[in-house]
């Protein structure tokens, strides 16, 4: 009987396992292996140890300019996008009518292809005839949004934060709605003001959703590529590039496979380290 069970399990597991190992596990190993070699897509990889990584950390100002941009988008996501999403979620929990309609519209941008939204903003930010440029110009804010190095980063970051606000909104909505009404009621009866209620009770009690949002934000911002590539190709220079942009340029435009895979590894490591540190810190906090 057991043999039949094991045979069945093995054959049911096999198809998925084979595709998974062949196209996920093996590529991961390949990536690490290539990152330790010099390979420009011609001939075969030549082992050079950690030289690619050393070059990244000592010899590549473009990478660090891009990394700085990643930090900038993370920063604005944390202090603008997420709090705004939280407040909107909280407002939606305070009303009864049209709630579903608001939710649908706030979440809608999330499901739209990034190429579609990036192209949309590319058109709308066109210096001469773009709807948004013209509107801002009316308010006295006039810039070459897609070519002036001083503002390209804004042009590339703002639309993304707009698009993904909906995800955090939904997460926070779930987190706030999970708070039991009794807790809120008794606080109100005790005379808590709205601000106090929000800050002292709702925020701490929606902590699980805030955690999910923070991890999602950091890892998402770490991987960002589409918007800058589509709107400005990362330029001018590297002004609106992100680490993934550098990866693409090195790996798929210059064919520096070895170097590019090393960059990919840095992205992977950053996300692992962040998740590890975050989980450790929050575990300590939860215990308190």
């Amino acid at each position: 009987m057991n043999k039949g069970k094991n045979l069945f399990a093995a054959s049911f597991l096999a198809p998925g396992l084979i595709v998974f190992i062949g196209f996920i596990i093996i590529p991961i190993i390949m990536n690490f292996s290539y990152s330790l070699s010099e390979w420009d897509a011609i001939g075969s990889p030549e082992f050079i140890g950690l030289k690619n990584y050393i070059d990244i950390f000592t010899n590549d100002p473009g990478y660090w300019e891009a990394a700085k941009n990643n930090l900038i988008i993370v920063f604005f996501a944390f202090i603008v996008q997420n709090p705004v999403a939280f407040i909107i979620a909280w407002l939606v929990t305070r009303i009864r009518r049209f709630s579903k309609a608001y939710q649908s519209v706030f979440f809608l941008p999330v499901v739209i292809s990034t190429v579609a939204t990036a192209t949309m903003f590319y058109i709308m930010l066109n210096s001469d005839v773009g709807v948004i440029s013209k509107f801002l110009a009316m308010l006295g804010i006039e810039y070459a949004w897609l070519s002036d190095p001083k503002v390209v980063l804004v042009s590339v970051i703002a639309p993304q934060l707009w698009q993904y606000l909906g995800i955090h909104f939904i997460m926070f909505l779930g987190g706030i709605q999970a708070i039991e009404n009794d807790v809120l009621e008794s606080a109100r009866i005790d005379g808590a003001s709205t601000g106090c209620l929000l800050w002292r009770i709702i925020v701490p009690l929606s902590w699980p959703s805030i955690q999910m949002s923070l991890i999602y934000t950091f890892i998402g911002c770490l991987k960002t590529f589409d918007y800058s590539y589509i709107m400005t190709k990362g330029g001018p220079g590297n002004a609106s590039s992100f680490i993934a942009t550098i990866l693409f340029k090195e790996g798929f435009m210059k064919n520096h496979y070895g170097y590019a895979t090393a960059i990919a590894v840095t992205i992977f490591v950053y996300s692992l380290v962040f998740t590890l540190i975050f989980k450790t810190v929050t575990k300590k906090m939860d215990l308190n």
């Binding site: 196209f23 590529p27 990536n31 499901v111 939904i170 997460m171 590529f225 692992l272």
Partner: protein
Amino acid sequence: MHKAKVCKAAIYFVLSILFLVNLFPFWWVLNTSFRDNTAVFTNTLGLPDSLNFENYIKAWDIGNFRQYFVNTFITVALTLLICIIFASMAAYVSARIWKSVFLYGFLSLGLMVPTHVLLIPEKVILQTLNLTQSRLGITLVYIAVNFSFSFFIIYTSMLTVPKELEEAAAIDGASRVRTFFTIVLPIVKPGLATASVMLCYTAWNEYLLPLCIVTNNNLKMLSQGLNELKGQYGMDYGLMTAGIVITVIPIVLIYTFLQKYIVAGVTSGAVKG
């Protein structure tokens, strides 16, 4: 009490403004897609004179969107079918037969891994297997990339299948395969639905992945096609917005009817790597 009413009104007001501001870009794109480009440049916000589909026809033919749409549709459909079947089979084994934490962890590894780490290796693998110009090769990569997430979602659903049902089926003489298809799968339908909708949405919208592994013009996806349209017709706003609408319509349709599955998938806690 009066204060509470004013508060409520203010909240509705703020939410409504945000609602309209959020919808504005979509309205503008849709509106512009029906207009003649010269009209767009004279008055950005004007309504079209008539419901004219010229831009859509142009995008479909000259812009090659017909090919891109078909490519994306076939790839996503094949990926959906194969990935969901493979993932549910693996989830069944993992949740109900070989209940090892290592197996579960191993198959979920894909959740932690950013696609960026797979780009160059996939390209090399496809070149080695001589599959770069084949839909099969591209679909295999898509399946793999969506596997862990589908597995994770369906696995969670699998845990809710009552053991008694499987045992009863075994006693009744049903083969394991039949039990899987006729008893287990129907019970995990919500998980299947969430995994399927999420897969459609992610796979349809993929950009970086096809950008790196699909170089044959006849196999390119809508996302690539839209960006390339910009190269030649970037200033033809009517055409560009029509392209955007074509790219976006299937997902908006899925969203309209199946929103709850996307929300469930996004809040499942499986931060997609």
